[in-house]
């Protein structure tokens, strides 16, 4: 905030990023509307839409609530147990579900929770008949918690790890009981993260499509996204698709606004940069409950993934690994993942820094606050714009410029990057704010600028959140089918595309093998995400 020339560059980059996002979305919408000849006057809010909207709100709210409620004790347990063998693998495991195509995750869940699943088989052995049914609201919630709780837990964990070590010392010194510790130290941090995390999960669940239909048990369980898909694909009614998307955005936007009012980000505090020593970790009770929660997370997330691996191992992996189509899909998937992650992290960082720069100081102008608000809003709500709308819109826009298939990689990278933005923003924004609070004055006073600042001051301490954001963005892009399916040209085959395609032609074993490859690739990405996760032990030379 103290070097005018650099500030101008930062603000320009941030504004361009924001403008680019808005333009990317608006152009697609405009193209679709133009093609359809403007807004029609069809009845949008019929009884069907109301029912679907009600169900969307219900299942998304419950899924969010459950994900958050479970994530809190798990994040606390992981924060308190800062060093145990395999901790980093628990964290990596928790990043996996998001990187899997939802159908793969769903089939894994079914192997555990399904009618013929491990649980029901075990219970049947005890003489009970099919006591657990995954089909219905329970299944939807279960799957949403499986996919989203680990994400929330990791966001919360990152927040808890930013708590200054002095707080723990003070708490230990004062002899705070665990309940008080939670209420006065941990909860204020978590509450600050809540709107962002809960909003993200809500959006993911509200736009959930395959999971809701597959596990919902019937059309009573449909989301607005189903209606959008139906409108654009089956009825080719772009106006209706866009109107429904708008409904989805307005509804969720209002909810996010309420959430943001309820809780604000906590004030940033500064620390000496050491890993916190936890003085409350030694009581028998906390040890027991932490172990319990970590084991719960491990089994809950790990069991379905193990099922996915199990199915995968039964496939002819050698043949798959030697298949040139698989090689191409692998390379394409990685390239798209890397490209969209770079794009996403780049624009997210530019926007966060620009928003921080313009709102610094005593009298942030209204325009600056509006800009910062627009950044937060756009990084959230972009998730609600269905990729099917973006894809169709850009297809129309690019058609005059020749073979659309040539542009497909760029568009897919852009769409995937956009869809990862909410995640990346939530990982980077708090870390960058803390970092700015710690170093802005000092670097300004010493005159460390530009690339030097980036290299010496910003990158090293931000390496961990940057890598985490990058790996999340890659994993998300990896598991995504939506954007690729729209452009579907035979020249651009990704792993999920190949997986669905094999599954669609009876080749279930091949599909299971590909799911295993996807899982492995995702694991490699998450290893990159936890690469910066080695902590300096307190008070020891390194």
């Amino acid at each position: 905030m103290f070097a005018p020339a650099e500030n101008r560059i930062t603000i320009t980059a941030g504004t361009l990023s924001l403008g680019g996002i808005l333009l990317f979305v608006c152009l697609a919408v405009a193209a679709l509307l133009f093609q359809a000849g403007g807004f029609g006057n069809g009845v949008l809010f019929d009884a069907y839409i109301w029912r679907v909207t009600r169900f969307t709100l219900l299942q998304a709210s419950l899924s969010t609530l459950l994900s958050v409620l479970l994530a809190i004790p798990i994040a606390r347990a992981l924060a308190r147990r800062a060093r145990f063998p395999g901790r980093v693998w628990v964290l990596r495991l928790m990043a996996l579900p998001l990187g899997l195509p939802v159908l793969v995750g769903a089939l894994g869940l079914i192997e555990i929770w399904g009618r013929q699943g491990v649980l029901n088989t075990a219970l049947a052995g005890l003489g009970l008949q099919q006591p657990v049914s995954i089909y219905g609201l329970f299944g939807i919630l279960l799957a949403h918690v499986f996919f989203n709780m680990p994400l929330v837990a990791r966001l919360f964990l990152a927040g808890l790890e930013r708590i200054p070590s002095e707080y723990w010392r003070t708490a230990a010194n004062l002899g705070m009981p665990p309940a008080a510790l939670f209420r006065f130290v941990e909860w204020p941090i978590l509450r600050g993260l809540l709107p962002g995390a809960a909003g993200l999960v809500f959006m993911l669940c509200a736009t959930s499509f395959t999971l809701v239909l597959t596990l919902g048990g019937g059309p009573a369980a449909s989301t607005i996204e189903v209606a959008i898909y139906q409108a654009l694909r089956f009825d080719f009614d772009p106006q209706r698709a866009i109107a429904l998307s708008a409904l989805q955005i307005v509804m969720t936007g209002a909810l996010l606004l309420v959430l943001a009012r309820v809780a604000t980000e906590p004030a940033q505090s500064v620390t000496g940069g050491r890993a916190s020593m936890r003085y409350d970790a030694d009581t028998g009770l906390s040890r027991l409950s932490d172990t319990g929660w970590i084991l719960f997370a491990l089994v809950f997330i790990g069991a379905p993934l193990t099922a996915v691996v199990g199915s995968g191992l039964r496939a002819d992996l050698a043949k798959l690994a030697g298949d040139p189509t698989v090689h191409r899909a692998l390379i394409t998937s990685i390239a798209i993942a890397v490209g969209s992650a770079l794009l996403c992290v780049g624009i997210a960082a530019a926007m966060i820094r620009a928003a921080g720069t313009v709102t610094a100081g005593r009298h942030a102008p209204t325009l600056a606050r509006f800009f910062a608000g627009a950044v937060t809003a756009s990084t959230s709500l972009v998730l609600l714009v269905p990729p099917v709308v973006l894809g169709a819109g850009w297809f129309l826009l690019l058609r005059p410029f020749g073979d659309v298939a040539r542009f497909a990689p760029a568009i897919v990278v852009a769409i995937n990057g956009l869809m990862a933005l909410p995640f990346v923003h939530r990982i980077l924004a708090p870390a960058m704010a803390t970092h700015a609070a710690r170093t802005d004055r000092l670097t300004a006073s010493l005159g460390i600028r530009g690339l030097h600042r980036l290299r010496w001051i910003d990158l090293p301490p931000l390496k961990k959140p940057l890598l985490m954001a990058f790996s999340f963005a890659m994993a998300l892009s990896l598991g995504d089918l939506g954007a690729v399916a729209l452009f579907g040209s035979q020249d651009m085959i990704t792993l999920p595309w190949l997986l669905y395609s094999r599954m669609g032609s009876y080749r279930t074993a091949d599909a299971a093998g590909l799911a295993l490859f996807l899982g492995l690739l995702c694991l490699i990405f998450t290893m990159l995400g936890t690469a910066g996760d080695r902590r300096v032990p307190e008070g020891r030379n390194t």
Partner: protein, 342 residues
Amino acid sequence: MSKSSQLKFLSRLALAAAASLVFTTGASAADKTLTVYTYESFITEWGPGAKVAEAFEKTCECKVTYVGVADGVELLTRLKLEGAASKADIVLGLDTNLVAEAKATGFFAPHGIEAKDVKVPGDFTDDTFLPYDYGHFAVVYDTQTLKTPPKSLKDLVEGDPSQKIVIEDPRTSTPGLGLLLWVKAVYGDEAGAAWAKLKDRVLTVTPGWSEAYGLFTKGEAPMVLSYTTSPAYHMVAENTDRYQAAEFSEGHYIQIEVAGMTKSAKEPELAKQFLGFMTGPEFQSIIPTTNWMMPVAATKEPLPEAFGKLVNPAKTFLLPSEDVAANRKAWIDEWLAAMSKN
């Protein structure tokens, strides 16, 4: 790995991938090119696409280029997005339910082929679209867990609710729509009531065929809505007759896959030639064991033995495409109402 070598590694990967992305299946300039839009599974390496192209190219001194999209419905969406400027000469892979809608776009030209060798149950004929294969929808069941499969749609509707079936959603998938029309064809105005009864047997309604079949082969339900030809795949490719189709006494609803040529075709003669080739023995012989559908005309050799074991419906249902287009929304609403009741 150090940071810089990591970066180098990543950028090399990105380059390699970019190189693979720009790769296109361009034709050599000398030949004429026939562009065929089709669904994606037609052109996978085990699909009929490559063999069909190879066989046709031998007869035409031309190059066949495919553009693949997700499925038949997407094919029509793609055409609507592209409008008259579409590069397609041939659109292959629509089904009979989409024919009226496809014609309404005005993009298609009459094929002008007599096709008297083409024989499809239900005697479908059309001046714009030519059939190239067909299959009947059927309830496929697992013989290991279901000893007494339903013998009719009535059996299915009224049978033991604890024996579950997985079906597809008519709002998002072709087989889902197929079952909807099947029930409509059999029950007529009573379709809503039939769905309300069937609802208890439905384990879940999936967005597409893949999800439903995946649940079925995982053993979650002993029945799934699929095709009469599904068992052929398991018999031929996996050597098992565990999965069988149930023959329904009322008859089965048919799915006929068709192709047509566009008005904007750059090579209309070639397109016409392709449509003729499509109903010939060369093409028809490729279809059964690659697309896992029934041929519509004579094949060079007799069909594999497994096809003889398949259900051969005594009666075929096919509602006129115009009726489907006109009533689809009302029928889906009826389905929704019946299936959403508690």
